[in-house]
Symmetry: D2
């Protein structure tokens, strides 16, 4: 496709859009979609996502990227320019509960998730048949508190071998080490089975049941080294009532988890998310 | 009306419904609606709400109540029998933010909230015109940390003078003393402006904004002496995004708060709620 | 399991619950859950669903059914008594779009849909691999306007051979003949890809797009001989906006369709639905 | 305030944003927010809403408007430039059901609806006290099938006297003549008490009840001369079940109607809506 996506963050000031749009116009690029946000028009931060179409983009794209640097410098921009034709490569980490993995595989098979699911890594064999049925490599890496560094070394090798851009923790349930997380900033997406910041940590459905809440939720977020404190990408909820025991809450929760995670991954793959400190801007 | 409502809680065992329904049948009462719940059919607690219709109920109701005691004893029941014709008397406590108070007044005026709103108490004059416009007495009682016991003495007198059954804290914003709360068990309903247990305590919208959540909520609960820890009656949420600053979250939040509180008060007035420890069963 | 479910419909009058609950008590059956509804306590229709637990139910169940006939006659009841241990047998009819079929298969595999999926019938080969991967027989029966009677004869044979209780049309897309429908009253569940009664008939997403609606929906209903007019079991919606073209609406729609159909099938399998003319009562 | 809003519609082509943003930059205007949409980047229609801030806008605004004409002509634009400081003047038409009127008055009083509510017109006296209590003129104009032209003449005079920009039909329940509607294109907002296109016309809740739907809705739309067929601005729904009779559906419906209408009016007042044939683009 002849599409490009420009993501920018810089101090707000007049003239940014004029400069960027003139730049694109010079390359005969048509702005297809654009969303912007400013934390404060006076002295705040400015964020923009521009999707453009351009004939012969494949030939021109390196030149466009190179010549954009002048503008970027001028406005002190953090920026990246991606091309949907360069499909991102995803690794899914799973464990024994497969509903999130399945949802991703099916969205992918239906063409609703544009990525190469390059490999599925799991600390159990449970998902092998499902994954291989889709023609996707499945790698079993035993992982637990005890062998964390060894396991992560094996995982890192897989990520390199498969040239992975995005890691999705589809109910992976193992803690990652700071080193692992820092090596993949804004690249690891996790699904937490509660409406954060309620019920941070383990066993959220049990605690939701004990507290007698009337809604339960799930939260997709980027992984940072503060447990369940990373930038939230998406959340959703469902209604429960006094009849719903913990088992039932988990069932209902599964349907929330899988749709929340699928949405978050989709937005990430479409370059719709800019991380701003501990928050996300989702265009 | 010839309607009665029976609320029961007792240890579960076979034969409860048979006994209660035969009892009502003996008084020619027709069971109009009935909902039940058991925490565990074997050794758990059993809860039931029965709404019945009965000709000449006004004449018979004392006799029915008296003769029900035998069954209640037999099954070790906690129970109450209420009659919708004996309309509950409500006091609303308000402060400067009036959206919840207004919602209650309008639902009441539209006939959607069956109660006598006997008095509105506030620590500010802001609501006087609104309240008196509805022909409802408005009492200003200055209240702050400094004069808490004095203020509560004045409030208690008002509650007695007006023979109040239900106290609704419609964004009242003042802490009540343990003595006040204990004097009104399961009678005080509060609206907290967050999706509990997230953001317990003060300034929840500010904290929701800081955390970058994608949904904000409100929670109606019975007041106990553990701040924001009382049994939850109802919760709801709305979606927000990165564009919503704190001011905007408050606006969106107001519409959640008023509908959540209105629902909770309505269910309480219709005797639909049984408190079970720190949870509610809403039939 | 020692569980039974009684579904009753009869003219409302006092004493029904007393009679039924005494009857169950005589067999030492404990009422686990019960929901009732009356169109009008005076002269209306009464509906009740009772779930009961009873030791040695397997031995007693025929006797219970037989002796209940006296009560049923007395109150002019339409009734049935089912036992969850007698698992219903389901046939799924599919075509080329597999999202609804997949959802049902996965809910079934996760244990969230208690049934035997005995066979999947399709007029295309598309689903064969998926279905057989679950160890379920897949039967391809070519079906079109031209060979309808021939195709239905083959389908009926399959339904008989597999002793089917429930037929789920998971986006089957073919019209069934009146004879076929009448042979399976309240046994065929269809998913229509619109919020009925909006967009009855073909190509609902195209028409939703043309009309510029802001929400799209899906409807699960029992199939009758009036196209898209059968009793509605469940509906749900998602928000769309001007950016969503027809293709996008279909994507969003798929996620609504599959969850609406899965819920409806689940309620049917749990004997939660009583059909009342052109409506459903879902307990 | 120093804010301006530019709404544009024109054939899509590269360079539009470059031209517009350079234009604004020349006046030292900072683009605060901008949303765009194209029906098709090649040969389709392009829509954009730009909100800009500019010092001394009051002095410059006529000049900006005048000099924008050159660009507008160049790109064959339909456009308008509004200034939030020029507050729109609203007339609300009401009848006997006041929930929508009340919601608008309270949103307005809370500062959530930025407009001058200049007058309320009604064919009944019901709302007089409420309206005058807010210090807003109330005009009673008897209206029915019989005196339609006479009534509309009186209404038109009021609209002129009060220099009205927006007419909100807050459950006004009277049909307007084609002449009246044509005189106010895209200026009249109505709330229809169903999820259009389901239940076009009269008595939608009765028909929803008869059909046995599981969700009911409301629709805010611009009024055209095709009954209930005007461009939809906003819709929302609530869940109902078999227990909800027509009266109950109306109650639930009231809460949907008022929030849907309030949102639509708000978006209109904020110049967020562009009408595109029979659809709306809501930025």
């Amino acid at each position: 496709k002849n599409r490009g996506i420009l993501l920018v963050r810089c101090p707000d000031q007049p003239g940014i859009i004029a400069a960027v749009s003139r730049f694109l116009f010079q390359y005969s690029a048509n702005i297809i979609d654009s969303s912007q946000y400013s934390t404060n028009p006076e002295g705040g931060d400015f964020f923009i996502r521009i999707e453009f179409a351009c004939e012969d983009l494949q030939q021109k794209k390196e030149e466009i990227k190179t010549s954009f640097k002048a503008i970027a410098e001028n406005f002190s921009m953090d920026w990246k320019m991606n091309f949907p034709s360069e499909v991102k490569r995803t690794a899914i980490f799973a464990s024994k509960e497969l509903h999130c993995l399945r949802e991703l595989l099916f969205e992918w098979q239906s063409g609703d998730l544009i990525t190469d699911i390059a490999v599925v890594v799991s600390n159990h064999e449970t998902a092998r048949e499902l994954v291989e049925g889709f023609g996707i490599p499945f790698v079993h890496i035993q992982a637990s508190k005890e062998n964390r560094s060894e396991a992560e070394a094996a995982q890192l090798k897989i990520l390199q071998d498969y040239e992975i851009d995005v890691i999705v923790l589809a109910r992976y349930m193992q803690i990652l080490t700071p080193a692992f997380v820092e090596a993949h900033p804004k690249q690891i997406i996790n699904i937490h089975h509660s409406f954060l910041p309620a019920f941070v940590g383990a066993r959220p459905y049990d605690r939701a049941y004990q507290r007698g809440v009337k809604l339960i939720g799930a939260t997709a977020h980027y992984v940072t080294n503060d447990l369940d404190e990373g930038p939230i990408i998406e959340q959703d909820i469902e209604r429960v009532n006094h009849r719903d025991n913990i088992e039932n809450m988990k069932k209902i929760g599964r349907s929330i988890e899988r749709r929340v995670l699928a949405r978050a991954v989709k937005w990430h793959l479409e370059d719709r998310i800019i991380v701003d400190g501990n928050k996300t801007i989702v265009f």
